[in-house]
Symmetry: C2
Subunit: 211 residues, 2 copies
């Protein structure tokens, strides 16, 4: 698939069929993640690829209460949105409800982990939330999502399970120095899957030379 | 360009020609960034696209001392590397020296900024470096890098200028709630540019079901 076509049609797909994914396809989307750049080429991330039914069920059990807690705030924000944005956000909320109830049915959940000791986090001392560590993980996540889109697989980046870090680490046997930071259910779409996306116009996102 | 070809040949290109980039090409690589997913589709990032010679020079002036400070640690790590990794790291170091001396010559420096108030940072309360905010910025950065690769443009993600956040914010007029977190020089390559990359094998990066 053409690069720009993949990027411009990558949606958050939250309704996923339980049909299995061919092993060769799984290897391709995982390999695409490994191609991403990382600071100093240290590749300070790993994936735990979950296919085991009990472990996926355990993740869903952990996920759903946090989605349920997140929902009222999401609903409250809806009322402040312009009409067209609201319609699209209500759809995303319904799909989110579906995911929270069915996450374990996805044939694959990719859990990305990172090791901060392998990173040079240049904004760790600043008086604002640090993000730079994410610069050596989320490019790999984006490669993974784009590869899923290329293979016709639905997928969505979730981070709510960070609220359950200790439980996730124990469940998956993640070592002390490594931390999960992205939990991505993957499967063939129930509905239309990928397609058109809603984004701000370029002139709202880019300034030249001065903010 | 095919998605997998772009991903698997995206290198950190640090030697960049000063030749200008066609405006339509600049718009395409910027637009590719806007397609990236973000938490709640809030798109909590912006780009300041630098083409002004004085501002680029000011960034290089800020960057070089930090590269010079970073270098001894980098050199020290070289001695612990296996032979083949060392050779490739020495090349990267030389290219890094070139970039530090010539950054201002790049026709474009894209400065990605983010606003944490527009993010739900689910790992902000954990007793380890937070990265989740980066999950709504670095996917856009990766789209941008891949788009540059697609257009034959060299580019490299740098984060050392986070050490000079206040100076960068003042130079570019970045508002209080927004923070720069990626500084990406872009230009046509002096040498071969993109091509083969060195990454760990898949079985070193992925575990199934249990770490």
């Amino acid at each position: 698939m053409d690069l720009y076509e993949a990027m411009s049609t990558l949606r958050a797909v939250r309704r996923l069929r339980s049909d299995p994914i061919d092993e060769a396809i799984v290897e391709r989307v995982l390999t695409a993640a490994t191609w991403a750049p990382t600071g100093g080429n240290t590749q300070p991330w790993r994936i735990v690829a979950l296919t085991d039914a009990d472990k996926k069920q355990a993740l869903q059990d952990l996920y759903k209460p946090h989605w349920d807690s997140y929902l009222p705030g999401y609903e409250a924000r809806l009322s402040h949105m312009p009409e067209d944005a609201r319609a699209s956000s209500i759809k995303a909320m319904d799909a989110g409800n579906y995911l929270a109830a069915h996450m374990h049915e996805a044939p694959l959940i990719a859990v990305f982990c990172f090791n901060p000791k392998l990173m040079t986090i240049t904004d760790s001392e600043l008086d604002r939330p640090s993000v730079v560590g994410g610069g050596s993980v989320y490019p790999a996540v984006q490669n993974f999502l784009l590869a899923c889109r290329n293979e016709g697989l639905g997928c969505v980046l979730t981070t709510l399970l960070c609220y359950e870090e200790d439980a996730v680490k124990e469940l998956l046997g993640i070592p002390e120095d490594w931390y999960p930071c992205a939990h991505i259910p993957v499967g063939y779409p129930v509905l239309g899957g990928h397609g058109s996306i809603r984004r701000r116009a370029l002139d709202q996102m880019v300034r030249y030379n001065t903010w």
